[in-house]
């Protein structure tokens, strides 16, 4: 997993609510057996029409918006557990997703792939959308050690992140590294609970 500490970038606004993982990466593109290459099909059906031509209205096709930060409407990542959604976002180049609410499984998948989901209030999200709509080059710094997202003009928000997950992101570790290190304890647990509860 790639480390994440400081990201300074412009942002891409996608003010739609309840964006589900079928939109992030449609099922017909899940046939890959590696984690790479999914970025090409990120938001496929919003990005391209039936003839595979770019849909100019869609924000990823609007060259004035670029960057490693995605701003998205409430309840981002609902639906399927497909981690391909996180792989597609990383592969495309996003490291941060900001929304007022994240679906559980997506949030876990994002963190396991070096994407930082930043949850903000509705008001903060609206404010961010406005800043970016007003100036597509608006630049933000995400400072993970400080848990801050700010710009140069005095905008600043503090965000929450679980201490364990923060450590993982800062160091590029994942859960397996940790679990493998406690294998003896897992075996001991198995011995004590040959059949937990029932």
């Amino acid at each position: 997993m790639k480390k994440l500490e400081l990201v300074t970038s412009t942002a891409v606004p996608l003010p739609i609510e309840d964006i589900d993982t079928d939109q992030i990466i449609p099922a017909r593109f899940l046939k890959g057996i590696s984690k790479l290459g999914f970025g090409e099909n990120l938001f496929r059906d919003w990005r391209y029409d039936k003839a595979d031509q770019e849909i100019p209205d869609f924000v990823l096709n609007n060259k004035i918006y670029t960057g490693e930060i995605l701003l998205a409407g409430k309840n981002f990542g609902c639906g399927s557990s497909r981690e391909h959604a996180a792989w597609a976002l990383v592969d495309y180049g996003f490291r941060i997703v900001v929304s007022s609410f994240f679906a559980d499984i997506f949030k876990g998948n994002a963190l396991n792939n070096g994407i930082l989901p930043i949850q903000v209030t509705e008001t903060e999200l609206d404010h961010l959308f406005r800043l970016v709509e007003h100036d597509s080059r608006a630049t933000f710094t995400v400072d993970l050690p400080q848990q801050l997202m700010h710009d140069a003009n005095g905008f600043s928000i503090q965000f929450d992140i679980d201490v364990y997950k923060k450590e993982c992101l800062l160091n590029g570790y994942d859960d397996i590294d940790y679990l493998l290190s406690i294998k003896d304890e897992i075996v001991a647990f198995e011995k004590m609970n040959s059949s937990p509860v029932a």
């Binding site: 739609i16 079928d22 396991n112 940790y178 493998l180």
Partner: protein, 460 residues
């Protein structure tokens, strides 16, 4: 101190607590399938490790398999590669595989309970969000991402935050023609798609206890559509009766001993939940969705709501429906009866019973995809295949099929499909496809009439 069922099971599976309050949770059963496992096996290879507990891992091929001519090689090269990769990974890592062509193959959430692998009191995971289905047997079952599939393969554990607890109580009796599917679509329409995020749900109340095991699975299955981590129902005599004699379970005295333990699996009186909601069964009618998420459902007797939001309008535009319209008499072109929500023998029996002696509407393409080889076989043994054929329905072979449109079972752009599956997202059943979620009976009635009708009119 009184405890909830969820806490009893969860607490018994905590291996240890780590920084930030996260916990290492032991997983009793892990189901894997072809779509979300290849990258996890790759991870094991990269790290040079084996599957830690092969006897707790079961594989099947379901998401990306054809539902016709399953004895022939898979046509689509990418699908074939994925299914072949599952076979070679299972061989290399010595995991039991109920693969294509196996007489017990099927949708992962259908075969788990069918084989008796799904048990009360356990923890169950799978790289598929509808793993919540298994919770109908009184266990903690939930969907995970591929990184977590790799964690479970390598250590049989996951690092998790303990979710909050919520109880949804439904009291009363469902009217004839109103099923478990309507009940859960109704609940989702009230609680919305994000309404249970962060919670693990226990369903309770007389309406829930009154459901068959198949019905309970349908309800737990769709817990994820409200954002819940999972859903569960305390096991009872109905559960034990359903499980009796299944392949992976002991029989005789050993089974009786298990039952005695399982009877303890319930929420104690006085145990508290972080959130409680309740509904009355009498308020529920047959349901249909009109939009592009499962929370956008209405009673068939209601009208599409009038709301002003960008997302809402975008959704109606996609469906080509108007605010304030009724869903009755809307035409559809496809009827899909299948998916882990409604593809069990009970669903097929209900549909067969309804369509017997009737003929599907000429303009409708009606497909029934059984949840497993065993369901398919049983349907044939009971002669349901003949009834379906006479009524003009096509009975396919098991798989996820048009639920997610990964194989060739797709709905065309702009076409409408009334579907017994669980998701009506844009493009879920194929690019541009429009999905209306409903119960098997409502889908069957639409197949006969070529349009959406209130199935209760046939029952009175």
């Amino acid at each position: 101190m009184p405890k909830t069922l969820f806490d009893k099971i969860w607490d018994a599976h905590v291996v240890k607590e780590i920084a930030g309050g996260r916990q290492v949770i032991y997983i009793d059963n892990h189901f894997i399938h072809e779509v979300t496992s290849p990258q996890a096996f790759d991870g094991l290879r990269t790290r040079g490790i084996d599957v830690f507990r092969t006897n707790k891992t079961i594989a099947t091929a379901d998401h990306n398999v054809p539902t016709q001519n399953q004895h022939l090689p898979i046509q689509d090269p990418l699908s074939k590669k994925q299914v072949d990769t599952l076979i070679s990974n299972c061989e290399e890592f010595q995991v039991d595989l109920y693969g294509l062509g196996h007489k017990k193959q099927g949708i992962v959430h259908v075969i788990g309970p069918e084989l008796g692998i799904t048990r009360p009191g356990t923890t169950i995971v799978c790289g598929d969000s509808h793993t919540s289905t298994h919770g109908a047997f009184g266990n903690i079952a939930f969907g995970i991402g591929t990184s977590q599939v790799e964690q479970v393969l390598s250590t049989q554990c996951l690092i998790l935050d303990k979710p909050k607890k919520m109880r949804i109580t439904v009291e009363g009796q469902l009217e004839a023609g109103v099923s478990a599917k309507d009940l859960i679509l109704y609940i989702i329409s009230k609680l919305t798609v994000g309404g249970c995020t962060g919670y693990f749900v226990e369903y309770a109340g007389s309406a829930i206890r009154g459901l068959s095991m198949e019905g309970r699975m349908t309800v737990c299955n769709m817990s994820i559509e409200m954002g819940a981590r999972g859903g569960m129902i305390a096991p009872d005599e109905k559960t034990f009766e359903y499980m009796k004699g299944r392949e992976h379970l002991p029989s005789g005295a050993a089974y009786e001993a298990l039952k005695a333990q399982w009877r303890l699996l319930k929420t104690d009186a006085g145990a508290t939940f972080d959130k409680e909601v309740s509904f009355g069964a009498a308020d529920i009618t047959p349901m249909v969705t009109y939009g592009t998420n499962p929370g956008m459902g209405i009673r068939i007797t209601d009208k599409i709501p009038q709301l002003d939001s960008v997302s809402f309008n975008k959704s109606l535009e996609y469906m080509d429906y108007q605010q304030g319209e009724s869903m009755e008499n809307k035409t559809v072109q496809h009827v899909f009866i299948g998916s882990c929500t409604n593809s069990r023998i009970e669903d097929l029996r209900l549909v067969a019973d309804f369509v017997k002696g009737k003929q599907k509407h000429a303009a409708i393409k009606a497909m029934i995809v059984p949840g497993s080889k065993q369901v398919e076989l049983q349907a044939k043994q009971e002669g349901l295949d003949v009834i379906f054929e006479q009524a003009g329905f096509e009975l396919r072979q098991p798989g996820c099929s048009a639920c997610l449109g990964m194989n060739e079972d797709k709905v065309g752009a702009g076409e409408y499909c009334i579907s017994t599956s669980n998701r009506n997202f844009e493009g879920r059943q194929g690019p541009g496809a429009r999905t209306i979620l409903a119960s098997p009976l409502m889908a069957a009635a639409a197949a006969i009439e070529g349009k959406i009708v209130d199935v209760r009119k046939y029952l009175s």
